[in-house]
């Protein structure tokens, strides 16, 4: 386990942590663990999802989240994690209600599918509404002028759709040039492109996720957005001594030496069991080599890099807190 801090001050200062990654890399889980880690020591964080998947509720074993900020967990050392599932339709209604008195007509419109229609008509509108709500949460203050949330963690769309989602400026190009939503979106643009916002990328140490991560880093830079940390998820320990690794990956495993070693431990195994062990060793070594190569490529991103272990026991709440611990041990604060 890595214990030195790799979490620089810029990341510690950020208030909006966007978490993305290739599909299947576990970004929702990582986002939840990060939100919990950032709440440690009496702070309050908000975990937001925007894709109507109810992934947060499932992770915390709760009924589907309503469109409201709900306390879902406590952090070690007395902190609070709230969660919000933003529904674009509800966000649009909320939005319209601020400027137009729609009254009960809003419900009728909703039933007619008018709102889904409007967000469909202008695809950018949907993203603007979602990021607009996130911005409102990040900026919200209490009566004393203190931020309600110390940090907001956004479980964002996967890397393939990430930059389009965050590039509000581009989305707004399709929309009206003046009006209330334009004013609001200017604020969203300022927040997303400021040093208050960082975009973390979750990856596995495999070719494709690493490639997507590198592409995403380049795209983020090009769109003037700030990449934060790369988070290597589901890392399994490498067991083989370094000197045996490449030979084993090439299929050369010293069977005699293994048999002798096993005998020393009092294990006298049948040939087919030994064959099986050898096959497992080759698979392990090959995978470890692929991982090592992927790790080298990942370094091209030149970003702080965090490692999270594979939860062999499976993912439950206990497992989630294990990830929180790993994040904290690597300096996440």
């Amino acid at each position: 386990m890595v214990t030195s801090s790799v979490w620089p001050d810029e990341l510690a200062r950020a208030r909006l942590h966007v978490v993305s990654g290739k599909g299947g890399t576990g970004k929702t889980t990582v986002a939840a663990a990060l939100a919990l880690a950032l709440a440690i020591g009496g702070r309050r964080t908000l975990l937001v999802e925007v894709e109507a998947r109810q992934g947060i509720a499932q992770l915390f074993d709760q009924p589907p989240l309503p469109y409201e900020e709900k306390r879902i967990a406590v952090a070690p050392g007395g902190g609070e994690l709230r969660a919000l599932a933003i529904d674009p339709e509800a966000a649009l209604m909320e939005y319209l209600a601020m400027f137009y008195n729609l009254g009960f007509a809003g419900r009728t419109l909703r039933r007619m599918g008018a709102i889904e229609f409007a967000t469909t008509l202008a695809p950018g509108l949907r993203d603007v509404l979602l990021t607009g709500k996130v911005k409102e949460c990040v900026g919200r203050t209490d009566k004393g002028g203190r931020h309600v949330y110390d940090a907001v963690v956004l479980d964002a769309p996967p890397t393939g759709r990430l930059v389009r989602f965050l590039d509000v400026t581009k989305a707004m190009a399709d929309l009206a040039k003046v009006g209330p939503i334009r004013n609001q979106s200017d604020g969203v643009v300022r927040l997303l492109h400021s040093d208050q916002t960082v975009v973390h990328l979750v990856t596995l140490l495999e070719d494709l996720p690493v490639q997507e991560t590198l592409d995403a880093v380049a795209d983020l830079h090009a769109a003037d957005l700030r990449p934060g940390a790369v988070i290597r998820n589901r890392m399994r320990p490498s067991r083989l001594p370094t000197r045996s690794m490449s030979a084993a990956a090439a299929g050369r495993v010293d069977e005699g030496r293994i048999r002798a070693g096993l005998a020393e431990a009092g294990l006298d195994l049948k040939p087919d069991v030994i064959d099986g062990l050898v096959a497992e060793t080759v698979a392990h070594a090959t995978r470890a080599q692929v991982q090592a190569a992927a790790l080298t490529r990942l370094a091209e991103a030149r970003l702080p890099s965090i490692e999270l272990p594979e939860l062999v026991g499976g993912l439950d709440l206990g497992g989630l807190y294990e990830l929180v611990e790993a994040l904290t041990a690597q300096g996440v604060r």
Binding site: A260, A265, L267, V273, L277, E280, V282, V290
Partner: protein, 372 residues
């Protein structure tokens, strides 16, 4: 157990749809199945949606042709059939569809509309719709006796089934006419109230998205109206095709909770829609290859380590114990799935240690899919 060899060798199987959530290896599964089918004598085509670059290269799909071409596979058996491959070009498929349904003038008018440009490239659901359209075209062409389709990498596996419907209702124009000319819509009773509030809503919406976009959209729908008969009919026909005999769905998942949950939804949905499910493919499993209990392996490793001898054997014992842990977790997760869906045949595909890029590794995946 799911017998995919029987499925792809059965001449009655005409279409295999691979679906599942993102990141589970749908494209690879689709390509491997098509290659295996070709090796077993079928004339197969695989429609991929968004293949990894190197996989696309090894299938010879360097450019987006939007039409299948033959893959020159080395080492094909003597009695092999043919493998063709293509990747979907969403925009071109849409353009071609417009051209097929409208007079040249009108088609040009539609394609030039700014709103068409938006909807044909970035409307969520266009990709799904166009995948269906392309599948329909491949079937209609009749050049292949087996079509294997990959589905778009949507957030939920169900999008594939829902998107075409959503798109049809979006394009049916009722709503857009209300929005662009709410006053003319008229109505009585509750509809009247709805219409009145619609006026406010339309005003609000046009303030937000801009009058020009609304105008473009209305012009687009008007121009589209004439070809709607064909357009909807076509969507319906493709949907029916998915329920026809000769079509089989293969749900693809990975041994991860999210992917299996999506697979569960999909299985339920297919049965509600009366669509034929062949079974579940669980990619990247890690079966235990040596019969030695984890506790014994760990104890022996402890002994070796405390004596400071045979580090290699100790490492082998440790990685074996790790593998058992992983395999047990995967078995538990699959157990939950089979508990909920006892009648769905399933096959686990042991993980390849390296990524799948060339035809050799696709063939290896094919063997694993077939359970041989």
């Amino acid at each position: 157990m799911l017998d995919l060899d029987a499925l792809i060798q059965d001449r009655a199987t005409k279409v295999v749809v691979c679906c599942g959530s993102g990141g589970v290896g749908k494209t690879t599964t689709a390509a491997a199945l098509a290659l295996r089918a070709a090796d077993h004598g079928r004339c197969a085509v695989v429609l991929t949606i968004d293949p990894a670059k190197r996989l696309a290269q090894s299938l010879g799909m360097r450019e987006l042709g939007n039409h299948p071409h033959r893959v020159d596979a080395a080492d094909t058996p003597d009695n092999a059939g043919e493998l063709h491959a293509m990747m979907l070009d969403m925009r071109r498929t849409f353009d071609e569809m417009v051209h097929a349904h409208a007079e040249p003038d009108r088609a040009a008018q539609i394609i030039a509309n700014p709103f068409y440009q938006t909807i044909s490239t970035s409307f969520s659901g266009t990709q799904e719709y166009m995948a269906m359209e392309k599948l329909g075209q491949l079937v209609a062409a009749g050049d292949w006796d087996l079509i294997v389709v990959d589905t778009p990498p949507s957030r939920s596996a169900l999008d594939f089934l829902d998107a075409p419907q959503r798109m049809s209702s979006f394009l049916d124009g009722r709503m857009i006419r209300l929005l662009s000319a709410p006053a003319r819509a008229g109505g009585r009773g509750i509809l009247k109230i709805a219409t009145a509030s619609f006026g406010i809503f339309a005003k609000a919406v046009s303030t937000i998205i801009g009058g020009q976009l609304l105008k473009d959209a209305a012009a687009f729908v008007q121009a589209f109206d004439t070809m709607f008969g064909g357009f909807r009919e076509r969507a319906q026909a493709t949907y029916e095709l998915l329920r026809a005999p000769g079509t089989a769905f293969v749900v693809v998942a990975a041994p991860e909770p999210d992917a299996l949950r999506e697979a569960s939804y999909f299985v339920d949905r297919l049965s509600t829609e009366g669509m034929p499910l062949a079974g579940l493919v669980v990619n990247r499993t890690h079966p235990v290859l040596a019969e030695l209990p984890a506790a014994r392996a760990s104890a022996a490793a402890d002994t070796l380590e405390s004596n400071g001898v045979s580090p290699l054997a100790a490492a082998v014992l440790r990685l074996h114990a790790d593998r058992i842990e992983v395999a047990d977790r995967e078995k538990r997760m699959l157990g939950r799935f089979t508990g909920a869906h006892p009648h769905v045949p399933l096959i686990g595909v042991p993980a390849l240690a390296t990524d799948v890029y060339d035809l050799d590794s696709l063939r290896e995946i094919g063997r694993r899919l077939a359970g041989v």
